[in-house]
Subunit: 135 residues, 4 copies
């Protein structure tokens, strides 16, 4: 039976990420999710860097974000990344971003595996499936 | 009766927007939506710049994106921005991004009006409501 | 005899480019220079996109910037890009950014041509040299 | 007598920072310098966040960068930030970025203190001068 796998990673909001409202610009959350997701993969023993060298890419096909509270320069944020369903042709992740234990942002992304050479969808590499099951 | 208002604006994908997949990074679509939305407001006669000077800010509270096809460096994109519902405490927009008449990306954002000084929600300024009705 | 070639391109500062000072963040000027430079190349008939497909890349090796005045959201900027010296292994460009005829920023970049496969420096492609001389 | 003060901070190149060459885009180095510089100030006991709340801003007026080698996704970089001269109306910093002890990028920025309300240059706050001398 599939158990949801979570992993938490930390970032600090950079000055260059702020906008004229003094908020971390809302587009940054997709970048924060990506940091969380690629660290999640790394935690399982996968380097996305190597995956791309082997002509497999992971492309985002859907994202939903709920912005509860803004984040500001120097805020320490925790990004909790959770794989929602067993991997097949896609990976579905949930993200929860906390500042001092308060949930300020949450979201979802769906990604698909593509063969870089012909841009066709492919199944999740077996090594990732094994690693998720064994983790 | 409320009629949906659309406005289309054009951008060209910049080299600095590409990522190692050669795609315009998926976080850029929230930036493209913002360009479309602020041009939409301008088209109606509103400068978001002036609104912020008057201590009214528009904060994104929700976003959904469907990424159909990637965009690449030098792609000419058309961003069609549509106000979905009559403005009240919030503004709800739909975005459709086209390359050569092909829909490559679509999304939705909900924004709320805030008093910049106390961060409390406020109603849509009457001038915006009038402008939308008269447009 | 070599005559300096200039070309001017226009951009509008985006909201997402502002920072908490309400300035266009200083790192954006390297992006604006890049927009100016790649439009300059295009004006001569070259697509940097195609150059990269042919495994030739242009890498920035030096940059100097003087920030005279800040730029703000919605500012219309003109980027004047000038090739300073005849092309050989490198291209040297000067940039002047104007808002309403006032010079607000100026800079310089040196770029070298690299073979993408082995990362070795190569001479400027003859087609670019010809195009510059014939322009 | 003034002794140069250095402080080193670490970052990891994010996927969203890469461009179609797979390099961390050259504009990111100004962002990395900023991270190094603001951590340097923090190390001395200053929060730039608080400084801005007190209507003092630090604006970059000059930057020089030498790009020796590209950085790639997942590279661990060390940013060594050094104050070059005693602070007065400006702060002059040198930056050296290392990957595995190899210098891949170096640069310089000059910043001036401004009164946020009238945009006029002001002297370096005495608390910063004291902190630098006592550090």
């Amino acid at each position: 039976m599939f158990k949801k796998k979570s992993f938490t990673t930390s970032i600090v909001v950079r000055y260059c990420e702020t906008d004229a409202m003094s908020y971390s610009h809302h587009s940054n959350y997709l970048k924060y999710y990506e940091v969380g997701r690629l660290n999640w993969l790394k935690k399982l023993g996968f380097s996305y860097f190597k995956m791309e060298k082997n002509d497999i890419i992971l492309a985002v096909v859907k994202s939903n974000i709920t912005f509860r509270k803004p984040a500001f320069f120097e805020d320490k944020l925790k990004i909790k990344t959770t794989l929602l369903t067993p991997p097949s042709y896609s990976l579905e992740f949930q993200y929860e971003i906390f500042r001092d234990k308060i949930l300020i942002n949450e979201g979802y992304t769906k990604l698909i595996f593509l063969n870089k050479k012909n841009n066709k969808p492919i199944r999740c590499p077996i090594e990732i499936i094994d690693a998720i099951n064994n983790y």
